[in-house]
């Protein structure tokens, strides 16, 4: 790949916590990986000397990487950083990833860095203040114990020397050091991370979390409370005029016109319809934001602004699962309040969703005072704020059953002796690596196959919005799907460039087909490059179907816009096909790291319910049955264990992995200029494992 002429700022900050030192390296050697995840995997490979260490070992390395799009107006791609390291959440504890938006990526680059790397373990509780090229290590005793909001407010005030909101603050000692009206962008942990809860997040601003990989606890183990960035530098762009025009063109074609929308929710109470229209604040799924007073609140550079800031500030930024875990609350405000507390204490919203399972155990007489699983939480007040507060704090501070739940729900359920039974009968549906049921692993298989052949719940919605949510939402509001199943698969075949509608056949036969394997690989490769390496928000990208363009043109943004934006920012002309190859290369490197950690194909099996518990609720997906396309209900389905093993055979072969072990082959690695990775794998004995 040729050298970028824009998008990068040129330096990577290497932070050594053990010795309280910092240095910079040239980012140019790592720019070939795109940025974000690719850059992070490459940095981890180089800086983590022993990749077999555990998450809380001093040798673990955490990388935080921005990308060329960070801090630019590329739509829904400016804000996100990718965070990687050996995570504490998954079982086993794989090298893993998470990400967050907000305004952190742009600020890191404004300070002059494309990425930063955290090594070692601080000898005392520490926070780090980075203002342009100045890096200061501070004792964090006074911050330890504060929640994520208190921590950030304290740091904001310290860094800007108490400058009131909205005033210019002079950075450095002269006016040419820069001036800003912006608050520092802070990444921090709350009490959950301090107490090494494996469900701990790294949090930024109100509701931006790296939540699903237990990296908050890794920071806690390193005595690292927070890292703050304040930058005043500029980001060069290869073709500014083209980028502005692309942004405007994109909005004209794909943005929700807030003043006169082409497609509007047919029922304002059905906020979930926003999944289709992408209107501002649409993350308020299931709960009715119309009962509250707020503004839409977006990440830097977004064109939809899917979150909310409320009139009392409680619940700012909450979204998706984090806003939903306490839907049993007696009233909406307590639901939002519970989500807010969870965010402030710094814990993953998906994991607190186990609240319902715990209540079921209480109702079954298994959990409670004097019961098999001892708990004095006020289950008799389930639905109240009192219960939510007690439950959340129990996890954060490792009290009552929270001491077990802080280890992750699956570990808790195993400790309680309920894993075998409840995982088989579907009471506890955590299909892979200790991660929750996100979408049905028996049906929506690009999600589950990709998850099990990676290291976590993949959490990439690009196909999911269309194949599942569109028909689902339309049925919820009593409407016919916006387009037929046949039209959907044809459109997806075109926009993905897979050119085969059978890739999107979710029938009982289709999910084991070679076409499905092509789709899963496409999703992994697109995700690894565009979503995770270029920071493109998966709530928009890939943009595969447009339902209501103001221009009337149904052509979606993918695959046309991504390479055009990449060229406008970096100056590099890349084809869509080449970008997918980059994604494949990054996935290969990740796979190599997992095999350095001891991965084997035998581990890549789902929890029992996936194979033995039939689906029992309608779950719309396109299916090709009896010679025609429909949205099937996909009832009474399980994943066939043997046929899934054949999927693995073919997928491994497709990716250049050894079919017997799942380890990348030397030939595949060398074909992507990763011979040095093959050498290391071979020295570790991983290539020979059969």
């Amino acid at each position: 790949m040729s050298q970028a002429t824009g998008g990068f700022v040129g330096k990577i900050l290497i932070i050594d916590l053990t010795n309280q030192t910092a240095e910079t390296i040239d980012s140019e050697p790592y720019q070939q990986w795109g940025g974000g995840h690719g850059m992070g995997s490459a940095l981890f490979w180089d800086y983590c000397e022993d990749k077999t260490v555990g998450p809380f070992d001093e040798g673990n390395v955490v990388t935080v990487c921005a990308n060329p799009f960070s801090g630019t107006p590329v739509p829904s791609a400016s804000a996100r950083v990718e965070i990687q390291g050996i995570g504490s959440f998954a079982d086993p504890e794989w090298f893993t990833r998470s990400s967050m938006g907000g305004r952190i990526a742009g600020m890191i680059k404004a300070a002059g860095y494309d990425a930063y790397v955290i090594k070692g373990k601080a000898p005392e509780k520490t926070w780090i203040n980075i203002v342009n090229d100045e890096v200061e290590f501070h004792n964090a005793d006074d911050l330890w114990g504060l929640d994520t909001a208190q921590t950030q407010e304290t740091i904001w005030d310290y860094v800007t020397k108490g400058t009131p909101d909205g005033e210019w603050y002079t950075v450095g000692t002269t006016r040419d050091g820069g001036r800003t009206t912006q608050k520092p962008a802070v990444m921090c942990i709350g009490p959950t991370g301090e107490n090494l809860g494996r469900t701990a997040t790294i949090t930024h601003d109100a509701g931006h979390h790296a939540g699903q990989s237990g990296l908050g606890a890794v920071w806690g183990s390193k005595n690292l409370k927070a890292v703050s960035f304040l930058g005043t530098g500029s980001v060069s762009v290869a073709d500014p005029a083209a980028l502005i025009d692309l942004r405007i063109e994109f909005q004209q074609k794909f943005a929700y016109n807030v003043d006169d929308p082409v497609l509007e929710t047919p029922n304002p109470d059905a906020a979930v319809y926003g999944f289709i229209t992408r209107h501002p604040g649409f993350n308020g799924i299931y709960w009715n934001a119309r009962d509250m007073i707020s503004r839409p609140y977006g990440c830097q550079g977004c064109f939809r602004n899917c979150r909310h800031n409320f009139d009392d500030g409680v619940g700012n930024g909450i979204m998706c699962a984090a806003s939903l875990f306490y839907m049993s609350a007696d009233n909406l405000k307590d639901q939002v309040r519970a989500a807010d507390l969870q965010n402030k204490l710094g814990m993953n919203g998906f994991e607190t969703s186990i609240i319902s399972y715990c209540r079921n155990l209480y109702k079954m007489g298994v959990m409670g005072p004097g019961k098999e699983i001892e708990s004095n939480l006020p289950f008799d007040k389930f639905g109240s704020w009192e219960f939510a507060e007690a439950f959340i704090k129990a996890i954060a501070y490792r009290e009552d059953i929270g001491a077990d739940l802080a280890e992750g729900s699956m570990r808790a359920v195993k400790k309680w002796g309920r894993w075998e039974e409840d995982s088989a009968n579907g009471t506890f549906q955590y299909p892979q690596w200790g991660y929750f049921y996100h979408y049905d692993p028996r049906l929506e298989v690009e999600w589950s196959y990709a998850s099990i052949m990676s290291e976590r719940d993949v959490n990439e919605h690009g196909l999911n919005w269309h194949v599942h949510w569109m028909p689902m939402i339309c049925s919820m509001v009593g409407e016919e799907p916006l387009i037929s199943a046949e039209e959907m698969v044809n459109r997806l075949a075109a926009s993905t460039t897979l050119d085969d509608p059978m890739c999107f056949d979710y029938s009982e036969e289709g999910i084991y087909s070679d076409a499905t394997i092509e789709k899963v690989a496409w999703m992994r490769h697109y995700g690894r490059f565009w979503v995770q390496s270029m920071g493109m928000c998966d709530w928009l990208w890939p943009h595969l179907i447009e339902y209501a363009s103001p221009t009337g043109d149904p052509t979606p943004a993918t695959p046309d816009f991504e390479p055009r934006m990449y060229k406008a920012v970096t100056g590099i002309d890349i084809t869509f096909e080449e970008s997918l190859e980059m994604g494949k290369k990054i996935y290969l490197l990740d796979r190599a790291i997992w095999h350095m950690q001891g991965r084997h194909r035998d581990q890549e099996v789902f929890a029992e319910f996936v194979y033995s518990l039939p689906t029992s609720a309608p779950y719309p997906l396109p299916v090709f049955e009896d010679g025609r396309w429909t949205y099937g209900t996909c009832m009474d389905r399980v994943l066939d264990r043997d046929r899934f093993e054949t999927v693995k055979d073919r997928f491994y072969e497709h990716e250049g992995w050894d079919v017997s072990t799942g380890c990348p082959t030397r030939a595949a690695l060398e074909s992507y200029d990763l011979g040095y990775v093959a050498d290391t794998l071979e020295a570790a004995g991983a290539l020979q494992k059969g």
Partner: protein
């Protein structure tokens, strides 16, 4: 409150009193952009007597209006502004400054701080070299960079907080909003007769452009750009942003009533 963008002038009554004392500096500090444009709207020139001097400035050919209650805080306006003007992105060098507190309370959590192209531009008045001036063709208040000596009097003179004139620490000169009259890194024609990058890129349509001199108050520049569609997706549309959207636009007013036979079946 008539104007409150500057802590220097938080009490409008004080401002009105100060305006009667007729020294120029006091007048500028007290009144900022208030009054003159409203008085002389349509005249094309703001001219008035201050102490023993006559001061005349072309009225700007256009003005940016914002709706801070509609802003989604995405900062795209700032990214586009700096990109169009300098070819680089830098929120700190955006002429429009969006300031926000992610942990704050709506509607005070976000402010869109745009230059008001004041009818009485104290920044122009303060400039000792004529670098800060009103463009004779468009009336837009501009900086002639070659004439700027970096004294920052224009920045100090701006009566608003944050100052709408700023020190460009990269190019070493003062800068301010020019309504995109001079955007070498954007192919569109800008200025009062053209387009403004912030207006074009704002996904919430929370920035608009007008050629009519706004009423000289905060409310004159911070306007309500929200209609019933904004309430349908869950946001307040009253001026103050205090009325729940389901009150402004009840669901029943949007969802058609069920057919009688369907209701009977239930």
């Amino acid at each position: 409150m008539v104007w409150n963008m500057s802590e220097k002038n938080s009490n409008p009554a004080d401002g009105r009193a100060a305006a009667k004392t007729v020294t120029r500096r006091d007048f500028v500090a007290a009144i900022g952009g208030i009054g003159i444009g409203a008085i002389l709207a349509g005249a094309g020139v703001s001219a008035f007597l201050v102490g023993d001097e006559v001061y005349a400035v072309e009225a700007s050919g256009g003005y940016l209006l914002v709706d801070t209650k509609k802003c989604g805080a995405c900062e795209t306006c700032m990214l586009a502004c700096s990109l169009a003007h300098s070819g680089r992105t830098n929120v700190n060098l955006s002429r429009l400054q969006l300031t926000k507190n992610p942990l704050g309370c709506f509607p005070l959590d976000v402010q869109q701080n745009q230059c008001r192209q004041c009818p009485y531009p104290s920044c122009v008045d303060a400039c000792p070299t004529g670098a800060m001036h009103a463009d004779p063709e468009t009336g837009v208040r501009l900086v002639a960079e070659g004439k700027c000596i970096g004294c920052e009097r224009c920045i100090e003179a701006c009566p608003f907080t944050p100052s709408r004139v700023q020190w460009n620490y990269e190019d070493k000169c003062a800068q301010k909003c020019d309504l995109c009259l001079n955007t070498p890194y954007w192919d569109q024609e800008g200025g009062p007769c053209g387009k403004q990058a912030c207006v074009e890129v704002c996904p919430m349509r929370a920035i608009s452009f007008t050629r009519t001199i706004p009423r000289q108050s905060d409310e004159g520049y911070d306007v309500n750009l929200r209609n019933e569609h904004w309430a349908i997706i869950g946001f307040p549309i009253d001026d103050a942003g205090r009325v729940r959207p389901d009150v402004s636009v009840p669901t029943a007013s949007v969802v058609p009533p069920q057919p009688a036979d369907a209701a009977e079946e239930e």
